[in-house]
Symmetry: none
Subunit: 208 residues, 4 copies
DNA sequence: AATGAATGAGAGTTCATTCAT
DNA sequence: TATGAATGAACTCTCATTCAT
């Protein structure tokens, strides 16, 4: 009666469902970030959530599934940017610049939203401080770059090593960037792109 | 009884002690290689060893400790090479070349000794196909590079990003190198060094 | 609105109440048939029902209770036949014949209605392929027979063993009968009755 | 030193191992008897044992495996008797008599050793009061009988129903026998054999 | 020292049942 | 009355670690 007709009513049930799903995702992101994918357990996620053990399984069937959901989420949010990258007829230089810039922008934004407090002593060298979202987006960038390099019949030798190098620089400079305050995406982009492009220029041309 | 009295010998005890320690290390290396550090369990190591469960704890107190021992082992073997690098008055170019070359040589050798068969589908992007030794040596190289870059009052801006980039290239090109047959350390070195050096040259000079 | 006013009707509520109760019973019968009583879970029943989990508890308080309801149902349908058996002054031979015949007829009919597909490999010898209804009717027959034997001051020794034997034959021949195609109740009845009656005749008379 | 040389020494370890294995088997038998195979859980068994949860798995890998061990045990103890039955050239009458007698003897002995106190109210009609051993031995008898009947080109019709009947009588008279005090295996055997043999004699000859 | 069974914490998962909507 | 998400107990099983032998 007191409800405006054209607004879809959202019951309290619906609300808590959404809230729970979200809090599981949030908890999972934190746990994956803190512990790493392998070390993280479903129970860790649940605990951080305050929900009952069984509740987790109303939303996701396994650790893999939450992880995938998180990764998909990142990939989905990043998709439009990436798409714009793929379609236009950019020069290689332009492409690299935009890709790196987009990637750095994304992870900076991620980090900003999830200021995770990481205990000072790294529990183990293999644990990486990425959220699944970042990992997924990184994978997208990696694929885009590899593809672009492969497609362009690059004059340079060994596109495989080339792609690996570009990606390596992007990832590690990105990581370093996140450790600084304030986070300067423009500067990091500038650095990485320059490093990549002039690095590539120094390479010998492929034998024809 | 059957021992010749006047020759200083190692007692049976000592022998098996050494042998056991070694066989634990060997098993651990295989297991870490096959399963990754996180996924590997002490049980896995013991199983591959043929020893009793309790025996493990006579030598190492935990998975971490074997891992560290393995890493130390690698670092120790790599130390002389690295030392020679640090002491002489090489130019930066020379230094980079030698460092990368030494690193690639080391991991290629490692890999040759431990042809680990890794299941085709990477279960997760974060699992790396390195032995603890490689990881340790990588860390040494990283430190050496960072230090060298920092020390030289490099004319280039942002030594931190620079070091990160160099290291990133070294690691990822190294990884790719290991996937090829035959393993061509010279070629990979050539590539990585060129990429690094010409990349760095393209960077703007630091503001003075 | 669309209901004709002057006809006494069952409200929608009543209708769905009946329908729900029935669909729970149907689902339960299938589940018990497929999985066996012990293995079956309330969840299994609910799932096959399409109803919400909570709805089950508006009708039955537990698995035991649905089971009992199903059994009662069978017993109730069988009751008239059984009653006719108890009241008339049949000879023992006649009684046995009619009882067995009635039992076999009932279970054949049951089976016909609920062609349960049972997985080939019996997971365990104790799981029986009966519906609760069959079990209940079997219990009725067992009681009737025992009673009749006890009442008749049978000349034969050991009415307890006698009853057990008759019942055993009835049950197991009945089970076998259900496995054949076409189901031949007349033949099975013939066999079981003959076996029972001539078996009993061979027994020694009770000591007087 | 104080040990007699030709006696195999049994360490304390060995002793407790044997004792534990046995106490698991004993607990399992009780639990299966009380709860039935489906309802019984590994935890139930462990609990009755006083051992730690993990200890169970040092001996058996699953509920199935303990069950099988128990059944095998019964079958193994029964094997010699059964074998003597299969080999000799007994008449059918003689065969049946010996088989039933052996079966009743076995279950009486079982029961005597494991006077399980069963709560008065049967928790559920499907739960049978047999140990896995009895079940296994029953299966042996069933097979032997079926085989023998099938082999003899019996003049009687429908060997399948015949076997079912014989077995049914054996089982159910056996069950009843166990409920009486004192347990009279001779009497029960007499009854069952007579019932079976005279029952069979009454059957029509097979059509030739 | 080596052994290997015992231990008990804890992981993943399912289930009966409740209760706010 | 129907709904279905939340709950938490309980289950199976594995693991690191201890300790009597």
């Amino acid at each position: 009666m007191s409800q405006v007709a054209y607004l879809p009513t959202v019951g309290k049930r619906e609300q808590t469902k959404v809230a729970n799903r979200q809090s599981i995702l949030d908890a999972a992101r934190e746990v994956f970030g803190d512990l790493g994918y392998e070390t993280a357990t479903v129970r860790d996620i649940i605990r951080r959530t305050g929900l009952a053990a069984g509740t987790f399984y109303n939303y996701y069937r396994s650790k893999e599934e939450v992880f995938a959901a998180l990764a998909d989420d990142g990939a989905r949010r990043f998709a439009p940017i990436l798409k714009s990258l793929r379609n236009r007829g950019y020069s290689f230089e332009e492409f690299v610049h935009r890709a790196i810039s987009a990637y750095f922008g994304f992870i900076a934004e991620e980090q900003r939203t999830w200021i995770e407090r990481r205990p000072a002593g790294e529990p183990h060298p293999h644990v990486r401080g990425e959220t699944p979202e970042m990992a997924a987006v990184f994978a997208e960038i990696r694929d885009a770059l590899s593809e672009d390099i492969a497609e362009r019949k690059s004059p340079f030798s060994d596109p495989d090593y080339m792609a690996a190098s570009c990606i390596a620089i992007a990832r590690d400079v990105g990581d370093k960037m996140l450790e600084r305050r304030p986070i300067d995406t423009a500067g990091a982009t500038e650095f990485a792109v320059t490093m990549i492009l002039s690095g590539l220029k120094g390479l010998p041309k492929a034998k024809s």
